[in-house]
Amino acid sequence: MTRITDTFQHLKSPAFIAFLVAGDPDLETSIQLAKHVIRAGVDILEIGMPFSDPVADGPTIQKANERALKSGMTPDILFDIVHELRKDTDIPIVLLTYYNIVFKRGIEKFYRHARDAGIDGILIVDMPYEESKDVVEIARTVGLNQIFLVSITTSTKRLKKIVSLASGFLYLISTTGVTGVRQELEHSVFELIHSVRKQSNLPLSIGFGISKPEHIKPLISEGANGVIVGSAIVHLIEQHLDNKKIMIDEVSRYISTMKKATGLLKDIKG
């Protein structure tokens, strides 16, 4: 059993999952941010490996990728950061990356390095199940969860295939479009949760566009097992580039508020 499976089994309330780009805004601050985010109570940390051409990302995360690459981010440094975080934490850490980064190193080598650093799962943004035979096999051998995306545009036929390959949890994309903060969540996300639930017992985490405590409540009442917040956090980083201390405080405070939103709901319901 991986840390991810274990976490979803034992959590009393739905998981709050925070996303950071490794190396954003710079190497040192990035490590500090990750530590504080963990301390503020996230259940799972998602770390993004920056890529030069992040086609699935909106402007906020694009700029974070640019800052991180400028700061010299590489997979090796990312693995070092995770290794460092692992000294103090046992929460699951999921790596988000585009495929070329993995391919360039060699899938097997990359996955072993990731596992040795303390990473629990890998999500390759631009890898649909059709192309995933090798990575799924290697993930199994190495002992990592291969996380897959499910979109509101995913057909039932595709969904069945995805579900048969995925492990850890399913990452449901709340809307068509790229990453970025949205004011309202689209209603279609609720139908998505229902239709995926019919096909799979895996935990369902919802991401893309979630930024406010109010977003969380309906997702959880409709059966989400986790919520993923990325752009909203990265946006706070961007707003406080000139003052690292305030940046870290603001991010920590935001995480606590959002985490509370997932917990409170459970109390109300249960």
């Binding site: 690459l69 070329n100 631009d126 790229v178």
Partner: protein, 389 residues
């Protein structure tokens, strides 16, 4: 072989949200090819509107100078000034066939943007074109043309602000508006089925050339050359000759020289990787980050290349060379003065390669160069450069 693969290359490396759109596209394209009305309409537009077939011109002066028989396939004579319209008319009709309400496109030199704007205008579909800020600056004339044709040009300010980033933005738009929008990609790149679709629409270049050269010479050419950015004019020219004993040569952007790192010679010095939805050769660093490119011609300023070219290189069927900006400028002037034809800077790459290797040809050899576009869009840039290269 896996779906949409060319050897190891090709495939569909896109976010899940786009997979339904690619499936829909593949299915619709199959129907479209079988639909006689659609095919007739396309052929009518290609002949009565775009100006096909294009001429195959024997270049007397150049032949005398280079001591071989040089022919130009005159894609520069097409409406819009480049081969791009073969593809945009085809795909825009396909988009209409699919009931899509809006076209988006990326453009580097602006030629694909112009060709998409033309197709959108005549077929009555609104067009948004993504174009890097750097390219907007160096291809101003084409920006104005696109706007005159009723298209909206959206400046791209991210990354290197050139073609690569324009494609990124087009993908982002497509992910967001996937139901209503057709992404009209401009070269044989991107996820399956795009490389196949664009090749099919561009193959008319090679098919015509085959008939024409047989008519005038009674045989096939010895050598055929074409410039390679994403590779659409080249594959369109090469594809009908792949099974023949004809030497095929693709010419890439050597920029300031391969040793300087400032170039766009993806097949010459790149390595296997994944960019814009497909496995192909790419220019990348040790960690898989895509590198910046440079070329005097915006249309070849791209760190990726079509998957089929990647395979053709590996199996040795097509040879790929690079020529420098300097050599290209000389070829640009040469063709203008010797033959009275101002070539696009992209196409001038193929001319430059012929000049460079002319001593290897026999006097009876038939050499066909695909003149993918005309140079009107480049005269400002060339005038500004003067003797600075």
């Amino acid at each position: 072989m896996k779906k949409g693969r060319y050897g190891d290359y090709g495939g569909q490396f896109v976010p899940e949200t786009l997979m339904c759109a690619l499936e829909e596209l593949e299915h619709a394209y199959g129907q479209f090819r079988k639909d006689h009305t659609s095919m007739d309409t396309l052929n009518r537009y290609l002949t009565d509107y775009a100006g096909r077939p294009t001429k195959l011109t024997y270049c007397e002066n150049l032949s005398e100078m280079l001591k071989c028989n040089v022919f130009l396939k005159r894609e520069d004579l097409l409406h819009g000034g480049a081969h791009k319209i073969n593809n945009t008319l085809g795909q825009a009709l396909l988009a209409k066939f699919m009931g899509k309400k809006r076209l988006i496109a990326e453009t580097g030199a602006g030629q694909h943007g112009v060709a998409t704007a033309i197709a959108g205008a005549v077929l009555g579909i609104p067009v948004d074109v993504y174009m890097g800020e750097v390219d907007i600056e160096r291809q101003k004339l084409n920006v104005f043309r696109m706007e005159l044709l009723g298209a909206r040009v959206i400046p791209v300010r991210t990354g290197t602000r050139t073609l690569k980033d324009a494609i990124n933005e087009a993908f982002r738009d497509w992910v967001t508006n996937v139901e209503s929008t057709y992404y009209l990609i401009g070269s044989v790149v991107g996820p399956h089925p795009y490389p196949r679709i664009v090749r099919d629409f561009q193959s008319v270049i090679g098919s015509e050339t085959r008939e024409q050269i047989k008519k005038v010479s009674g045989r096939l050419p010895d050598v055929i050359l074409a410039c390679v950015g994403g590779g659409s004019n080249a594959i369109g020219m090469f594809y009908p000759f792949l099974n023949d004993k004809v030497r095929l040569i693709g010419v890439e952007a050597g920029g300031k020289g391969l040793e300087t790192g400032e170039h766009g010679a993806t097949l010459c010095v790149g390595s296997q990787g994944v960019l814009h939805g497909a496995m192909s050769y790419v220019l990348q660093d040790d960690y898989g980050q895509i590198m910046n490119t440079h070329s005097i011609s915006a249309g070849l300023d791209y760190p990726g290349v079509g998957p089929e070219h990647s395979m053709l290189k590996d199996i040795g069927r097509v040879e790929y060379f690079a020529v420098t900006d300097h050599e290209v400028l000389e070829a640009f002037h040469l063709l203008s003065r010797k033959e009275g034809i101002i070539p696009a800077l992209e196409s001038a790459h193929a001319i430059a390669q012929v000049v460079k290797m002319a001593d290897k040809f026999d006097k009876d050899d038939i050499v066909v160069i695909n003149l993918s576009g005309r140079g009107d869009k480049d005269v400002g840039e060339v005038a500004q450069l003067g003797d600075s290269i």
